[in-house]
Amino acid sequence: MEFLAYGAFFLTTALIFSLITLGLNLQWGLTGLFNVGLAGFVAIGAYTSAILTTPDDAARIGGFDLPILLGWLAAMIVAGAVAAVIGAATLRLRSDYLAITTFGVAVVVQLVALNAQGLTGGPFGVGFIPRPFGSLAENPIVFNFANLAIVAVVTLVFFLALEHLARSPWGRVLKALREDEKAAASLGKSARAYRIQAFALGGAIMGLAGAVQAHFIGFIAPENYLPTLTFQVWTMLIVGGSGSNRGAVLGSVLVWAIWVGSGAAVSALVPTDQQARAAALQIVSIGVMLCVILLVRPMGILGGTPKRKAPAEPAAGRP
């Protein structure tokens, strides 16, 4: 019985990761936009929803006690809006600028979460986040399965919507833009608009995932949104295969299983005083795994990543 409850818990977490990875796949896999600060967008969603839905708290602004669904909606809107602004600032520039800027977003979000105590609760975070099925918490199996069901529904809805989007004219334009820089350049401003839309939508999905997770755990703190999160999700997407939504989900479950499994092995096998070190080694091995996959099988397990043709070296200079 306990095993079943844990299985549901594991899958719920893995599916929330899948949701983040689906958002990243829209940004990277479909559109080719490199987001190195996705932890920031996840955090924005989590905090937005937490602040709106928690009961009134004298220690900080907010605690508006709003319905959970409203919190989730707001999480998407705020995270999406931030992504849109970042996109507008950087998507006319070389792709590296987006990477650097999103990296900065994650740093600043982390800083705000830690220091704006009046808004975010500071290092202690926000507690008492309402759970969708809080009344069932007495019975862990039912509770976990209820959570799994709601997370599965949300993930499935977005999975299907993204599959549909990828095949829509909108998605085809994004793919075309990704594969053919020249076509993108000739479309000029409207190409940028398409990319900003994709980036904002991807950011909104990440924000929603953050909110869903916050309500599932009931408690959030700044340390949930460190660069390690960004890194995990990237590995999930690359392992699963960027460009494929199914790959995104599969990669998330697989990498999360590896992560949890190796974490359990560490805590079982390594003496307590050395566990921090062993955990560091865990990250090292995932980092090496990411690099090896990029080298050996850049399309991942399910990725049909359209290879962008390496431009033929011009005789001299760039065309």
């Binding site: 080719g32 490199f34 190195v36 600032a89 950087t90 006319r92 520039l93 070389r94 792709s95 590296d96 600028y97 990477a99 650097i100 800027t101 990296f103 900065g104 977003v105 740093v107 600043v108 800083l111 830690l114 220091n115 660069p227 390690t228 890194f231 990237w234 590995t235 690359i238 921090a276 070190r277 062993a278 560091a280 080694l281 865990q282 990250i283 090292v284 995932i286 980092g287 090496v288 990411l290 690099c291 990029l294 080298l295 850049p298 962008r308 390496a310 431009p311 070296e313 011009p314 005789a315 001299a316 200079g317 760039r318």
Partner: protein, 302 residues
């Protein structure tokens, strides 16, 4: 306002500037943003710390050069650390970046540098744990130099060292053949080949210089603040912001950008408090991207 922020800002700015030179060189010559550059700083610092330990083990305790907190062992160790870090950068290029570069998708190289960054940093945590280390625990007395500013001998020495290194790199880029070749590769790599430049050699040299300077920046942080596995990663945002503010590819720009960001951070610390320091670089970065994305000395995307 307390004028002390000038000293703090110049020092922070020097560290940022030295890091930004490496980033701007790899960007302009290899055309990718190296997210593992900060971790090269940290690796260089720990390597230098190890070399200091080895020298002390060999020669016994060496008295510091008065009035500094360190003696010749640190200087020798720094030189070795610079070599080590340059070599580490070369190694990373050899086993990772070079192969991905050959496939032609630069953004994959950026991603790999992000993965490498994670792995490098965590490896340091594994080897040295996350508790801070120090080159010296001696406390230096800051001497007043007027206008309410105090400065320690270490700080003066490190500012001079930065000035010397920046001048040396600038002369190297403008007066030496390898410097001209580096500029040529950054301006037009195809033409550089036609002219007979061995691009692979230029790339190796770029990594060596970038790595060596990253090591110096890291050791400065180590001497003035403390040594932690995260010390370099935490510098990454200001370093990138400085390179972009100065104009990608410009070495004077990287240094000036570093100083501007360092001084702004120091000023902001006085106004808003130390906890908001890291946000300054981001604010400056966003302002540059909206107003003048080519930076102060930039020449635009070619």
């Amino acid at each position: 306002m307390n004028m002390q922020f000038l000293v703090d800002g110049l020092l922070t700015g020097s560290m940022i500037g030295l890091g930004a030179i490496g980033v701007t060189l790899t960007y302009s010559i290899l055309r990718f943003s190296n997210f593992s550059h900060g971790d090269l700083m940290a690796w260089g610092t720990y390597a230098t710390l190890m070399f200091v330990g080895a020298i002390t083990a060999l020669f016994g305790k060496v008295a510091p050069i008065a009035p500094l907190s360190f003696g010749w062992p640190l200087l020798l160790a720094l030189a070795l650390g610079m070599l080590f870090t340059g070599g580490l950068a070369l190694l990373l290029d050899k086993i990772l970046f070079q192969r991905l570069r050959a496939k032609g998708q630069m953004i994959i190289v950026v991603m790999a540098s992000f993965g490498a960054s994670m792995a490098l940093r965590s490896l340091l945590e594994f080897l040295f744990t996350s508790s801070p280390a120090y080159f010296s625990r001696a406390i230096q007395i800051a001497k007043p130099i007027g206008f309410g500013i105090r400065i320690t001998p270490d700080q003066i020495a490190l500012l001079l060292l930065t000035a010397a290194l920046v001048t040396a790199v600038h002369l190297l880029m403008t007066r030496s053949q390898i410097g001209r070749e580096m500029r040529a590769v950054s301006q037009n790599i195809g033409l550089a080949r036609v002219v007979g430049i061995d691009v692979a050699r230029v790339v190796r040299f770029t990594w060596l210089i970038g790595g060596a300077l990253a090591c110096v920046a890291g050791v400065m942080i180590g001497v003035l603040v403390q040594i932690r596995p995260l010390m370099g990663f935490d510098m990454l945002l200001p370093v990138f912001a400085a390179a972009i503010l100065g104009g990608i590819g410009s070495i004077p720009g990287a240094v000036l950008g570093g100083l501007i960001i360092g001084l702004s951070e120091a000023a902001a610390v006085q106004i808003f408090g130390a906890e908001w320091r890291a946000a300054i670089a981001f604010v400056i970065l966003m302002a540059v991207l909206f107003v003048r994305p080519i930076g102060l000395f930039g020449v635009g995307e070619r």
